[in-house]
Symmetry: C2
Subunit: 169 residues, 2 copies
């Protein structure tokens, strides 16, 4: 058994873990990308958003009475959902990286959809509103990636056929 707030807190911790992981991965992707300036710029924009989301989710956790240091310790065994979606970004190939980023943003979007419902049931309207705003940013990033996958694929394949060019990143 678990109370409404305990369930809400559990998913908020997952979200916080994912946002920390997102920061690491977006920074890594941005620093590796050399030949895909549009993708790099969008990743940098979302990195800024991610830092804001981290702070907001942390504030929700603290408002529910859990200290952030406890939340930070819990990150050692990063949430299964986040770890899984994130592992994909270990690739340095731009096309698979973009697919994995798309998967990661959608994982976050799914998790915030859960949290919005849970916060509503638990009567935590501030968390609900915060996560509705974050959800919009995640869905916008996911949509952007989905729309740009064909262009990234095309650019990759063109570079890939050209002697002396590096296509991978």
């Amino acid at each position: 058994m678990a109370t409404r707030t305990e369930n809400l807190m559990d998913w908020l911790r997952d979200a916080y873990a994912m946002e920390q992981q997102a920061e690491t991965m977006l920074k890594g992707q941005s620093s590796r990308l050399e030949h895909y300036p549009l993708l790099k710029a969008r990743i940098d924009q979302h990195l800024e958003e991610t830092l804001g989301q981290q702070a907001q989710v942390k504030a929700c956790i603290e408002r529910l009475g859990e200290s952030t240091s406890v939340a930070k310790e819990l990150l050692g065994k990063v949430a299964a959902v986040g770890q899984a979606a994130g592992g994909a970004l270990m690739t340095d190939e731009v096309v698979k990286g973009a697919v994995a980023s798309y998967a990661f943003e959608n994982t976050e979007a799914g998790l915030y959809t859960v949290i919005i419902e849970a916060a509503s049931i638990a009567g935590d309207l501030e968390t609900k509103q915060v996560c509705e705003a974050i959800l919009k940013e995640e869905l916008a990033m996911a949509q952007w990636l989905f729309e740009h996958l064909p262009a990234v694929t095309r650019a990759f394949m063109e570079r890939s056929e050209t002697p002396g060019e590096t296509a991978r990143r």
Copy 2:
């Protein structure tokens, strides 16, 4: 350097690996779920679709001249993208499982979007058409999961508060 067809084949192999992984995970989820009949039914439906997708992707790989036994050996080191998105489904908690399934379907959708563009560039219109049909199924499953996440969350939280009830699956 890599030719158009080599790049296309690389992503088709990833797709084949993901479809095999999808079969394993959907079967596992379906067999574990006890208290979420609607979700279980949709998973069973998508399992059937997945078996068809597997066969279709395999046919594309073989048509491009690679034997399936070679393709099967390659699955030992399952594609990074698939492995990552799939690992999340190891959880037996229904809400996180549904979020992870949503992430997995979107990973597949992203990958097929790449393959559709690659097949178009490589002039392989049969692969393009096959993957357009598969993409529709993946997006439909993703959309269904996204729309049902709040209901699954609500049912989980209600069971979770009820003494003697099992909420997790």
